[in-house]
């Protein structure tokens, strides 16, 4: 089976990793968290969301922790996902890479900031 590509890490996958940084979430929870952390810019549809989740699970960057009920959403049982250690490390590396890019952009006066 062709491996899903996580290198470079797609934006959706990175957002999912970030959304799981503080707590375990189910699919809809992840979608809402991503929407919130991106100020509504990114709203993951079911295909993109679960496609990415599948890739991340296969790469062992997140893992399924079992099913639970989210009382706020009703009595349905939902699958919860958790960030693995590897996933956390990768998210940090990615964040650092992006921070580095931002630093360079500032130096090159592409981006405004405290040094500009």
């Amino acid at each position: 089976m062709p491996k899903r590509k996580l290198d470079p890490l797609p934006s959706a996958a990175f957002q999912i990793l970030l959304s799981l940084a503080d707590e375990d979430r189910h699919g809809y929870g992840i979608m809402r968290q991503v929407e919130e952390q991106t100020s509504g810019r990114v709203r993951l549809g079911p295909g993109t969301l679960y496609g990415s989740i599948q890739s991340l699970v296969e790469a062992q960057l997140i893992e399924e922790v079992g099913e639970g009920v989210d009382a706020k959403l009703g009595q349905e049982r939902r699958r919860y996902y958790r960030l693995t250690t590897t996933g956390r490390k990768l998210a940090r590396t990615e964040a650092e890479r992006l921070a580095d890019m931002v630093r360079i952009a500032r130096e090159r006066k592409i981006l405004g900031g405290e040094h500009a």
């Binding site: 709203r43 079911p46 295909g47 679960y50 599948q54 959403l73 939902r78």
Partner: protein
Amino acid sequence: MLERIFVWLLRLYPAAFQQVFGAEAARLVRDRLRDERGFAARLRLCWDLLTDFAISVPREFRYAQPSLAGAPTQPMRGPVFAVLEGKPPTPTSLALAGLFAIAFFTGVGYLMGHGGGHLMLRSLSMRPERQLSGPGFAPERAPQQPGMGVEAANSSLGSDRTIASPAQQQADAYAAGEPWKRDAKTATPAANGQPALVEMDTAYTRWVVAEIAGNLKYHYFDRASAGQLAESMQSRVTAGAYDSVPVDQTLAKLLTRQLRASTGDMHLEVVYDAGILPHPVAEPTAGVPEPYRRAMAASHCTIEQVETLPHNVGYIKLNSFPDPEVCGASLTSAMSSLNHSSAVIFDLRDNLGGFPVGVMFVSNYLFNRPEMIFNPREAVSSQSWTKPVAGNLLADKPVYVLTSHKTISGAEQFAYNLKMLKRATIIGETTAGATHSAVFHRIDDHFGVAIPEVKVANPYGKPDWEGVGVEPDIQVPAADALTVAEKLAAQR
């Protein structure tokens, strides 16, 4: 309503994806539908979901195929497949696949057999196999030794011309002692079975006829009638007169008949070969080719038999008229051994032609004065007269020439001249009827046209043997000719 549409749309994802995430994805859609209300929010939701479907469905199909290793490995009856699907193919699927395959290949076969002339399939299937091993193409054959007709060609032709017709080249090969059948067409059974090896379309026919007309116009010795001939052929082509004629022997024979009818010249001939017509052969630059020498040495210069029959009748069976440069000594010794005969029988029943100089060499023994030996390929020159041979006693002895329907070319020249000069009695069958005096122009792999380029006056004021053969004085089956000749010789 929207929920049902979007949940239904989730079925577009691959089975494996649906299996794992189908329920979750449907729940997500429902959650969002429940939470996002109002016209603007719904519109945005619809946009989100549709774009997501558009992007992720193809991606999932690309990535989400189960691996081949995941195919079931439990023993099953019948063929085992590595499948992309999660379950083994059902017997129904296998049966349907088999039926489909049969239908498909039957369809392809039908198209190849019945497609129109413009179908690529047909042109592929009808492509002729190259008959490179047929007569005239055998690699071990002696190279084309210029035989009769070459001298004529030399006198007036450029180097790009074919110097002898295929039949002539075969005749030469015969002279080299190789046992091929005379007729290239009948000797190629594979070609015989497929009467139309070339693409049969009107354009090809028209092209062939136009090419023949063009060659006639520029090469036929009688320029005035050549021009008219070419014009009338062109107008017949334009009128579509040849369009329904099969592009094979039929066309060649029809054209030959028409050319001969309008000119009265039997030397004009359109040739068709279902195999591949030989390409022009370069003339040997100097001397006699080594293979010809070897072939002559091996066949005793095609002198099959020399003996003295009862009643002191000399008999020589000559299967070609070889090049005196190679076979002069053999010919001299054969003729000398018959010097004291009271009559001579020349058996040419298996003679397939050869060198005009060879014909002249033998004729020298039959006259004690210079006599002109007519050669339809060559203008008369000092070489056209016989030269008496010193010590020869045969010049006034009766001569009998045995012929068959196979006797051809140079052998016919010998028989024709002796007959016209009333020097010999011809016994047997009418000969094949080929002077090989025309120059052969190759049109393509299958068609060629023989065109006389020089007009040679016939000293006898009659047509030569082209197309009609030499008629014997005494017509008997070739097998009986020798007996008849022996009887006649004994009576004298």
